[in-house]
Amino acid sequence: MAGTTFAKGGIHPEEHKELSERLAIEEMPPPSQVVLPLSMHFGAIAQPIVKKKQEVQEGEVIAVVEKALGASIHSSVTGVVKAIEPRPHPTMVRCEAVIIDRDPSAPPRSYEVDDWRKLSREQLLARIKEAGIVGLGGAGFPTHVKLSPPPGAKVDTLVLNGAECEPYLTTDHRLMLEYPEKVVEGARIILKVLGIKQCVIGIELNKADAINVMNKAAAQSSEKDDTVVRVQGMQVKYPQGSEKQLIYSLTKRSVPGGGLPFDVGVIVQNISTTMAIFEAVSMQKPLYEKVATFSGRALNRQANLKVKVGTLLSDVVEYLGGTKDLVKIVSGGPMMGFAVSSIDIPVTKTTSGVLFLNSSETDLGEFGPCIHCGWCMEACPMGLSPKEVGLYVEAGKGHLTEKFGIFDCFECGCCAYVCPAKRPLVQFARLAKIAIKKRG
Amino acid sequence: MKEIFKITLSLTVVCIVASLILGFVYAKTEHARKLNDEKIEQQTIQSLLGYGAGAKVPSDLKVYPVYRYVITTEKGETVLGYVLPIKDNKVVLAEMDLSGNPIRVTPISVELSALSDKAARDNAINAVLPKGSKSIYAQTIFVADQGGKRIGYVVPGVTQGFKSFIKLMVSLNPDFTVTGVAVTSAEEDPGLGAEIQKSFFRNQFVGKTIDLLKKLTVVKEPLPPNYAAALDPAKAKAKGLTPEQVKEIKEKHLKDNIYALTGATISSRAMTNGVVNTVKKFVYRLDKLNEAIKKEQLSVAF
């Protein structure tokens, strides 16, 4: 089966998925303390509705966003609020967080499954909102907002992103293997919410087992209603999982620069999100647990762990037997994730994986001058000129780079990956965007 | 209105004053400039005849120009016309057919010295030619005369060089042995072909007789060092060669072919061809001209 792919560019980084792709999802025992930052994702910072020393139940809402765009936060354990204070945060250095000491005696909460097909579209949306679901692939856009496209938009297709093109990460892979029915049901929930009939699940060909399983699951459940869920294999190529590339790969539609998927009638959801939607709707379980890949050769034991949101990385590392020769911790995939400076940060809703890299896996050398090899331009999936942007930024003329279409850049890192001079091209692109915005 | 008048007036005055000054300077310098041009030509010819910088030119040395014209007669035939200086400072136009048979001799009423200006000369010739015939200027050769004896000729020539034309002048003694070669204009590559202007190259031709010239070729061997020194007066002096030694070396190499300039064989060959062809043509024509002069019993000045 020849896979589909996107229009241009792309790279083939080493996958490193062999470290964790065969490891079944493993539930990590809840830690004795969780740290729940009030800002976990795209949108406004949530306001706490609990006080110090207040007792909270697992799954209880502890912070809400009243008016602005956002999602509520739920406690991931049963216990007592120890403090509400700034703590180290993956991206914001420090952020106000609710710290809860777990009550070791409290039993884990259990949920009942009921038939979601009875519910109306509005009820489904309400449940998704209550559960505090956000997009789990990256930025964490609140899902209930995403599933309410503006009235004018004519959406006809749901695209599920099972590409997982980032090296190392195997979360979605494992989820599809182990819970295919949940994913497919989740997809049907979304179809119902959107009132459309068609769903395509794009999966890279290196996950042949997942394609198999998903195909079966999609076929099995197809008699329940008249929606069509289809699995499409895609070539193994980074950044297959990026929104625009994924849409082009699966539907051959191009989202114009500055546009959104529903401009071309598509809505994209991540596999983990879809499963969370299923759990939120049919089990009424809020989003406070997260399956994430903990990998990298600096870790003594790699794993796909189901962890409570708010679990500190230090606890995870301890659980996995510590590290050796650790030079870099990356939250997210190695291509687009960000390096974190501290091990005392919590797992958040959007954490899809944490990589502990040793010196052989990551390169910390200095960068040299651009030699105009043009490899970055070949690799760029958006057809931009990263080398030019880099030169402009270096010369202090970042504000002149709009002509290169810098705002189309979604920082996939292909350019920097191939650069023989090891230039930080993604960083240059970010600086260029900042410079343009500054000039207004 | 008054303003415009003022502006126009002042500009007019500026222009008039400027033209007056210019006219004045032009009148003052025009003559001197022409004289200067002639002087440069004279100097080149004199130095080719062996009276270079510093050498005193004998008072009885006279250089007569002979102008050659190609004339299309009123009947459409092509003939040659030579403007010849004759005794008593007079000038005639001698016409002859292509094989050298004289046709007629017409006196020209203009003085020889006034003919150096091309426009004046063309006018003078056209004035004596029958109506309907046309004349095109072809070449000027110079005949040097000392005390009523021809002591040499200076012939201009042109040859296709590496980049554009090389204009040259060759001086010959009455036996048609080359006595000097000068390059009057060339655009060869500096450092390569431009070396044809250096004396060590030009002087290789000096002393070659007409017989030697006819079989002269270019060889790509390096110029023997002592020959090179002998060919360049400045170098000979620096090396301390006595005039006798110089003469001896030159004689030893007299029958040698032309040694090509390193890296500029094309220019060297162009130059050699130019000199040989110029001399060959000249010798052929002079022969015919001399015969014609004899037949017509012209008392030419030289």
Partner: protein, 347 residues
């Protein structure tokens, strides 16, 4: 709790492809080694010494100028070494030993470091060095050829007495063509078959590194296999040179001998190693094709109609002049650009 280590916090991406700038430079340099060895066999140890002088002076000039300009000294990245090798490869083997030093100053200091160092130069440094030498020492550059031992002696003698400066000085095939026409070639180098064969293998007078089409071709193919260069520039250069030579190279139209033009002179070296220089050639493949066509066409144009027997050096330099303009004209095709043109930021 685990003690907090000093984690590296660098920007994404956190993994990189293995190839580095200096790897590229050293690989390209390494593929030129066989050419040098053949040159030593052909022209004697002179060519080795000239190459060494050239490489060392390029490194020295680079180090000194970087020091003087207050930049980090980056001699180790191999770019100066490569320039040095290429500079030595495009000058005749019989030149005086100080020539490559002067060429190195022109190549590294004027053409490269003054413009801002590696990556900022507009003209190929090695070729600027060569053109500088051509203009400054025209005699040495046009005459200091050495006949390959193969032409002069039997192969066995060559092993016994490696070449020396006083080996027969001779004319290159191209200068023979320029002066006497293409038919004269056979007088000097034997029948056409043996010409093709000898030129292809590299037994002909010429610059140190340009004689062997075979070894250059092998090196070039290796670089292509390693994906360091692509086929666009070499192929378009050679093809256009062949076509132009075929059309205009003969007595009448369409009767030239393309093979002789492709195999003689520095066209092969130029097409595979000089024109493909990343910094001075256009980045986009479509532009590279045009660049190559320009190089090939101009090369043969200069050879046939110009003032020099060989035109590769100037053809590449002339096309280098166009590179910045071509980089402006040829932009990569954007994937799904914004529909409405953005409001000009220039306002």
């Amino acid at each position: 709790m685990i003690p907090k280590p000093d984690w590296a916090v660098s920007v994404s991406p956190h993994i990189r492809k293995g190839t580095t700038t200096s790897q590229i430079m050293w690989t390209v340099s390494a593929t030129l080694a066989p050419v040098l060895i053949l040159s030593i066999y052909n022209f004697g140890f002179r060519s080795l010494i000239i190459t060494i002088v050239s490489v060392l002076s390029c490194m020295l000039v680079e180090a000194i100028s970087q020091k003087a300009m207050g930049r980090a000294v980056s001699v180790k990245d191999g770019s100066a070494v490569l320039t040095g090798i290429l500079l030595a490869f495009v000058i005749p083997p019989g030149v005086p030993y100080y020539l490559p030093l002067i060429g190195a100053v022109a190549a590294i200091f004027i053409a490269k470091e003054l413009m801002g160092g590696l990556g900022y130069n507009v003209w190929n440094p090695a070729l600027v060095g060569r053109a500088f030498l051509q203009a400054s020492f025209p005699v040495a550059i046009t005459t200091a050829w050495i006949a390959p031992q193969q032409l002069a002696k039997s192969a066995w003698d060559v092993f016994l007495s490696p070449g020396s400066a006083d080996a027969i000085s001779t004319a290159t095939p191209l200068s023979v063509i320029k002066q006497y026409g293409i038919t004269a070639l056979t007088h000097q180098f034997g029948g056409l078959d043996s010409i093709y064969w000898n030129f292809f293998l590299g037994f002909k007078p010429g610059c140190i590194g340009e004689t062997s089409a075979l070894l250059i071709l092998l090196g070039g193919l290796y670089l292509m296999a390693r994906k360091i260069i692509t086929w666009h520039i070499p192929v378009s250069t050679l093809v256009s040179a062949a076509i132009v030579a075929w059309i205009f190279g003969g007595q009448t139209w369409f009767s030239g001998n393309p093979l002789v033009h492709v195999l003689s002179g520095g066209l092969m070296l130029g097409a595979f190693y000089m024109a493909t220089d990343y910094v001075t050639s256009p980045t986009l493949k479509s532009a590279q094709l045009i660049f190559g066509v320009g190089v090939g066409g101009l090369t043969v144009l200069i050879r046939l109609k110009g003032g020099y027997p060989e035109g590769v050096c100037y053809a590449i330099l002339l096309m280098n002049c166009l590179t910045p303009a071509m980089d402006e004209w040829f932009k990569p095709r954007r994937f799904a650009p914004p529909k409405a043109a953005p409001v000009a930021a220039a306002k």
